[in-house]
Homo-oligomer: 205 residues x 3
Amino acid sequence: MTFDIYTILYIIAIIAEAMTAALLAGKLEMDLVGVFLLGWVTALGGGSIRDVLLNHYPLSWVRHPSYSLITGFAALATIIVARHMHKLRKLFLFLDAIGLVVFTVIGCQVALVGHLSVICVVISGMITGCMGGVLRDILCNDIPLLFRSELYGTVSVSTAVVFLFCSHLVENKNIELIIAMVFGITFRLLSIRYNWTLPRFSYRS
Amino acid sequence: MTFDIYTILYIIAIIAEAMTAALLAGKLEMDLVGVFLLGWVTALGGGSIRDVLLNHYPLSWVRHPSYSLITGFAALATIIVARHMHKLRKLFLFLDAIGLVVFTVIGCQVALVGHLSVICVVISGMITGCMGGVLRDILCNDIPLLFRSELYGTVSVSTAVVFLFCSHLVENKNIELIIAMVFGITFRLLSIRYNWTLPRFSYRS
Amino acid sequence: MTFDIYTILYIIAIIAEAMTAALLAGKLEMDLVGVFLLGWVTALGGGSIRDVLLNHYPLSWVRHPSYSLITGFAALATIIVARHMHKLRKLFLFLDAIGLVVFTVIGCQVALVGHLSVICVVISGMITGCMGGVLRDILCNDIPLLFRSELYGTVSVSTAVVFLFCSHLVENKNIELIIAMVFGITFRLLSIRYNWTLPRFSYRS
């Protein structure tokens, strides 16, 4: 069983997503099953929606049952480490940024392998990167963050565009990945650090 | 590239749905990505759910990437025209009615082509007509309008029944379409004009 | 047309789920279409999500259009019997427990027939058992019960594990079913009777 760099990054990403979801579950005082499930849906939901929309079966967690265990344990482990979490806040933001970017790039690749159009590649990247968080927010009865603030969606779209651009220029798959990841993570962390936001559309009827 | 009447009506419908969604996004003060995405989900979500449930791949926006661009631009254009929107309110209600009816009829046709049962044809029409709006309301953290008021669902179901009925009586596809559309749009506009509602079920435990 | 025991239990389960959903619709004062649709989604939504995720087409309500009629009529019939409902509360909790357990077992079987891994069998059971209720709660703009309280999810998971265990030990399919059902329904009813809950995870940032 060999791991390529994509698999390693993917596993880091699902762990990070499951942990952030578990923290949110803790804020809402969910029980253990709730923590487990919210972590699972957040980590694996975006990729599942993409695969269902693109008819890309079997889904990753069906092919690799260990992914379900990994996300579940990551969510439950969060309960234990939660009290030390504030010390790890920066590590966490960094892991979350890796999650967003890795998911986006993987989503693009699935669409590229399926020979989809450029627009669908970007959409596939964005769905994979962002939809897990959208499902999490819907289940927590909140307007998804994606629709309200931070540059979450913008980072995902622009990472997808950078990755797509590189994949036409560069032969080496790892170099594409590294450029897109460095770009995306830097963009995400800068947007958090400096509170970058997009203009809002305010309409009163 | 030739356009049949269905394609033209479909494009009008997705533009109308994206624009109404964008106005709602404006009321919630979403940012530009939020406006874009809410428009996209509202316009293309109902058909996507139908296609996923009926195993009808590839989805329309995968086959026609331009649809994603059209809905996205319609949503963003709404920001510019929003200040003149109250003057266009009637045009808008009319476009929205077209959207509901066209989506419903297209949903019925997809099921008819797949030789599904009469009940599934009606359900397919209703899912296509209404689910985009349901997704929009869920993402805006609201109980979907469909479940609460107006005759949205009723118009969709009865349009589906009329269309199905005509498709057994009439040979000419365009005549079916015209009858169902005139019926559905008239029903919808009258129900708005005269505040028609269905009886409510009120239960206290 | 012969009915096996699974079909009979399944029909009882969708009726029970549609009726509990209709009562919730009544609390929110939905109109008749809302009652019908919420019943339909709650009863058939969990199985639909499972089938879409596992690429198991056609969906049950496409194959058996009568299921849609049954759930719809059960939901509407609830309006008539609602005033006598408090007398039937215990029957109702019992039917609801049957629904949860039957759906879970059917979900496991679909995955077993598809030769999925043990983990996916349990997940498939849980999705089938619980997701209808999650959709219902999302459409009613509530944090799903599954994530908050009662042992709904726990009962579903443990029923799935018991069923899976029995299916390795016992040859006779009906005996598997009976053991899993007796276990699940007893667990569910006891958890309601004695207010069993799981520990909660409370986190404040």
